[in-house]
């Protein structure tokens, strides 16, 4: 897919990128902020819920089930349901993205906490740690790799989902894609926005990977 097609409508053009750098940057920041905010809110809700589910076993089923149902609802449908009720714009997209990200983070938190070596927990109890200390010093650090994996997956998925927000008028880079489509099939605009979207996902994934590495120094030297 290089610019061999009709000369007046190339698949990609640097002049489009340089001439529209302002708009591209504005949409990319809008896209990034929406993603980060959605994943952050989802994490603040899902990680405590995951802790709760790993303590109160019977809650795990209903919690994960509800999150799975929300995850099954197509993003377009979710935005189409939320926007007429909450008003067109950023809010319904943000809420929709949060609801989506919940499942992945919740599931990985529960899996991570369940996978903690019981011997390590026993040892911590044996040296006199209370429940909170066991949580903070043993269970959470051991579950951290799984939780970070959940955050990364949620972030990458959210970046792609933001574009669907265009259906209710707030899609970050998706706005550019749709505008290019309406604007006589301006391929360079759609392609640039699509590539920018993939790059943003990559960058955020890298940042989280680096954060995960920094938070789990004891795992360094083992496999990623």
């Amino acid at each position: 897919m290089v610019s061999t097609a009709a000369a007046d409508n190339p698949w990609f053009s640097w002049s489009y990128v340089t001439e529209n750098a302002d708009v591209l940057w504005a949409r990319t920041t809008e896209h990034a902020l929406l993603t980060v905010e959605a994943v952050a809110i989802a994490a603040l809700v899902a990680i405590p819920l995951g802790l709760l589910a790993s303590r109160v076993r019977w809650l795990a089923g209903p919690l994960l089930g509800t999150a799975a149902i929300l995850y099954t609802v197509p993003s377009l449908a979710l935005f189409a349901i939320l926007a007429p009720i909450m008003g067109i714009g950023r809010q319904p997209v943000l809420l929709g993205l949060v609801l989506y990200a919940l499942l992945v983070i919740l599931r990985n938190t529960v899996t991570g906490l369940d996978g903690v070596d019981p011997a390590a927990v026993d040892a911590a109890r044996g040296v006199g740690h209370g429940p909170l200390q066991v949580l903070a010093r043993v269970r959470l650090p051991n579950a951290l790799p799984s939780i970070m994996a959940g955050l990364r997956l949620a972030t990458v998925t959210t970046v792609a989902l933001v574009t669907v927000g265009v259906v209710v008028g707030y899609g970050g880079l998706g706005q550019l894609m749709f505008q290019g489509f309406r604007n006589n099939f301006y391929r360079a605009e759609i392609m640039t926005a699509t590539i920018a979207c993939v790059l943003l996902a990559l960058v955020l994934d890298l940042v989280l990977w680096a954060a995960g590495r920094a938070l789990t120094p004891w795992l360094r030297g083992r496999s990623a």
Binding site: P74, A77, L78, A80, V164, V167, G174, M177, I190, D205
Partner: protein, 238 residues
């Protein structure tokens, strides 16, 4: 809910979107007739089936072959992860500007995003078949092809069925996106409602698309259970 309909219902500004949506869903004319919910729903299902079949026709043999040879695991997983980062909307719109419009483009785009899930599940299912069962088959003198079709694939049914279920739900969620580029299916109700600022209709369309996805998920959950051999059921969950 004071809409005791006396006379034709007008799009009163002060009527809430919820009651507008209910009015839309209650109107028999929205369901039957050309461009009605029933016709769009059938179209939606046909597009979903076509896209899943196209994706399966490519992904299942490739996944089985790679899994049988225990090759390309890294590439398979990488492909699945990378496909998550690619915005579906961008691909659909790019296909449209390439001249691929309507139902054909919808099927191609949806199949592209369904293939990785099918590929990775088939690969993992075949590769993860119990090694002792595989050894026994080889010991009996089965050629590689038979080991695949008579041992590895049956053992992989659970995971493959799980992949099909995910793919079906995912495709039924991708099809309405194509409505933004002129494709068919229930997404048209949402696209049309947004275009004409009838938000009650947008809400109704959203509910319909969501309901379809949940019903498909439920149906294929049952199918998945039925095709998974009983002793494998517990381990087939993912």
């Amino acid at each position: 809910m004071s809409a005791a309909a006396t006379g034709p219902v007008t799009m009163a500004q002060d009527t809430g979107v919820v009651s507008q949506a209910i009015a839309y869903l209650n109107d028999p004319l929205s369901w039957t007739g050309p461009g009605g919910i029933l016709e769009l729903g059938r179209e939606h299902l046909a597009l979903t089936a076509a896209a899943v079949l196209v994706a399966a026709a490519v992904a299942l043999p490739v996944g089985a072959w790679l899994g049988h040879g225990r090759r390309g695991g890294g590439v398979t997983v990488w492909l699945t992860n990378a496909s998550r980062a690619v915005p579906t909307l961008g691909i659909i719109l790019l296909l449209a500007t390439a001249g691929l419009f309507g139902d054909g483009a919808t099927v191609v785009a949806a199949a592209l995003f369904a293939a990785p899930v099918l590929l990775v599940n088939t690969y993992e299912g075949v590769r993860g078949a119990d090694p002792s069962a595989r050894d026994a088959a080889v010991g009996l003198g089965m050629p590689g092809r038979q080991v695949l079709t008579r041992v590895e694939l049956p053992l992989a049914t659970g995971l493959v069925a799980a992949g099909v279920r995910t793919a079906v739900v995912q495709v039924s969620a991708t099809v309405p996106l194509a409505a933004l580029a002129g494709g068919g299916g229930l997404g048209q109700i949402i696209a049309l409602g947004m275009g004409t600022q009838r938000y009650g209709q947008v809400l109704a369309g959203g509910v319909l698309v969501a309901a379809l996805a949940l019903v498909l998920d439920g149906v294929f959950a049952v199918v998945q259970r039925l095709v998974t051999p009983a002793p494998l059921r517990a381990s087939a969950r993912r």
